[in-house]
Symmetry: C2
Subunit: 226 residues, 2 copies
């Protein structure tokens, strides 16, 4: 089962933008705006209109030439594509600051992601409530995750991430998002993605540095006095 993967793949880059379009469409809908255009969507989201049309074309052809897109209809198509037809259960392992932030993050519910379990390695904090859910001991993970087809989130400090990943895999979880620094090994059938909160900051810092480097090279005669 591989070679020619069936033409179902919407590019990840497009998937990442769909929630932005959906947010704008929802706001339009709330204001009673019945239809829109790729130009308007592009302006609201901050991309080029050609990209909007390309992205939306992956969903099928839901626009009308010369007219635009129906707000309600397009909203539904995007929501469907994002899997919001059903809710995806999420468990979070690691209830430090980051885990708590994620548990309370408003952006999840609006995208069909429902947090159903919070876990921490430290049994002493078990029972505390975060965003309405109790923190549970790791021993409970299997019973919550097994057969529920959950998405697992690792929000532990770096050193505990391996333990968290092993526990998730052992409980049958096949989709894991890792916020902890460092790389993790998981079986092939498990999809593991990683988010490093510092990466984008690092890129900003490097760009800042490059801006300085450019200035000092481009204007070598500027501040000459020794």
């Amino acid at each position: 089962m591989s070679t020619a993967l069936p033409r179902r793949g919407i590019p990840d880059a497009t998937v990442a933008r769909l929630p932005d379009y959906l947010r704008v469409l929802t706001a339009m809908s709330a204001r009673g705006i019945p239809s829109t255009s790729s130009e308007q969507l592009a302006a609201a989201v901050g991309v080029r209109s050609a990209k909007v049309r390309k992205d939306l074309s992956h969903l099928g052809n839901h626009g009308v030439r010369g007219v635009g897109y129906d707000v309600a209809n397009l909203s539904m198509k995007i929501a469907a594509e994002l899997g919001q037809a059903r809710e995806w259960p999420v468990v979070i392992v690691g209830m430090g600051n980051l885990g708590r932030a994620l548990a309370a993050y408003g952006g999840l519910a609006s995208r069909g992601l429902r947090v159903i379990g919070l876990f921490d390695h430290d049994d002493a904090i078990a029972g505390q409530r975060v965003a309405g859910l109790p923190i549970r001991p790791m021993a409970d993970l299997d019973s919550v995750a097994r057969d529920a087809d959950v998405i697992g989130v690792i929000a532990t400090p770096g050193p505990s991430a391996k333990e968290a990943a092993d526990a998730l895999v052992a409980a049958g979880v096949t989709s894991i998002l890792n916020f902890a620094p460092g790389s993790l090994a998981v079986p092939d059938e498990v999809e593991l993605r990683k988010v490093d909160l510092a990466t984008e900051l690092q890129i900003l810092a490097v760009h800042k540095q490059q801006r300085y480097a450019e200035v000092s090279r481009d204007v070598p005669l500027a501040g000459v006095a020794p």
Copy 2:
């Protein structure tokens, strides 16, 4: 000042991986390993060795053919490239769960990013200490950020993000990382990057959905009984 930008640009994709290499090299250094190879680095980080060599070649040629890379020397080169020659001051606006998580995030200090100020819109929590720093009222932002060439981080809820961005821009900040959902408008001279914590989860959810879709299309005769 534009057209042919001076050949200083290390690709962002490479910059994003450099901290991973540095982390592995630091661990090797601690264990007294004097040299390594692109194969070893690749295995430790979870990429192909060709990618490692390509990435490192952007830093100049610091390896020795037939031998490998000197751990200490390569560590220094990467640290220098990442701007760790100096420390970059960071201010965080929005001290909810996410802001607190970022303030305490260990990954920052190790990359030359130093949090020097925490701010919140709600003056009632001013004075509270998070990770050793006091939360300050927004009114203090200008005095802290002005002329300090800081990187600004927006960790507010979505609706407050615009206000936070305006305050940062008004204080002269030209590099901003936005963790709040929604898009922000900033002047051209300000570099704005965005991280959406839910995006990667969303991608996992869509992939999960596609896996189901594939199964039901590929094996249409499997569970037939009505």
